[in-house]
Amino acid sequence: VSPRAKKGTIATRSIGTDTALAKLARILEVEPSEVDFLADLRVESLRELRWEISDTLNAADAKRLAGVMAASKLVPIGVAATIGEKWFGPVLCARLVGLVDPGRGGQYVKHLSVPFMADITTRTDPRVVGDLVHELDLQTMQQIAATLLERGDHLTLSHFVGHLPASVVAAILEAIDDNAVVVRVARYVEELDHLDPVVALLPGARIVDLVHAVDDADLWVDALHLFSHLGDAQITRSATTIVRQDTEVVTAAIKAFDRHDLWEASLQLVDHLDPADIAAFADVLLVLDDDLIDAAVDVIDRIGAWPTLVRIALAADGLEEPERARLRTIVERLPTEQLAAFESAAAAAGHPALLTRVLSPRAH
């Protein structure tokens, strides 16, 4: 099965495969290139393989690791933590995370350095963290996250998103000022259904900041990949936030959608907007070059998204000249069969006279 996404779709497969391979390489303690031979496996299979291998590694020395846990109780907790940091190292301590009593784990944290805890985090199977997360104070988790990001490690945080409560993830994100980094972490998340409750907890101002970061760093491909996995409410919130930004931001977004062949996914966002926001979107669309408009119409024709264009035309119906004149020019350039498809969709939406209205100059 090809792991690559086909043209015209959000590159979910490619991102997912690269992510899954990187995570698999990490638990095997090898470079990602050493597991490239697995790139043709489905993402789900790669993920399942990783869990199987992690279970195998955890089980390999289970008895001796249990002995280590027992021995650690023979010495004061500060001494045990020092032994862990000095002698055991992060790989073995990561194996112990799943064995430690959560309350005692919370005590260890007070004696370990943040860089060492970050090292442990990179090597911990997120499935075994469980109640331990409730014993860690938020500040410590934020410090660990900040340390990982200072190292350019986006993968580790993404690894935990699906295994921590959304409230904890959202609280950790509060400490991450770099919004482009947040998007980069999110694109590596495999449990994409866990993103929606996290996004729901982000304040509106943060969504605005994220949109600007996406624009500044041209992360629209990643952003659309993520949007497509949100629930309706959060897609609406994100899409609305985008179209309410400056014209330059919306224009940049549309050009990025065209450049990356993402018209189909971006048109789906329009369906989540209310008429006033669609009008704002139409305002921007109408000043774009014909080539961009043609590309959008071609996609609309190919995927049968005429109802979406009807919604845009309805919203644009309230526009004044010269925007209306531009709209007329665009519609007049449509081939007959596309005009028929538009008319049919308009009639189905209860607006049989829409095409005539659009083509008529506004009476003053």
Partner: protein, 61 residues
Amino acid sequence: VSPTRPANPSADLDPADAERLAALVAEATARQSKALDDAIDGGMGHIPRLLRGPVKAVLFR
């Protein structure tokens, strides 16, 4: 088996790739085991000398 989880992901691999993956897993397991040996020996230095033998015998044999 959960319907959302592949029943046996290793089954998707051809024999050569399966063998290559098994070798990587074996190497990682051996590395981990060696690290554990070293860690136990190092950690024992923090246990009073008289107790080291009995502790090691009870906990790690």
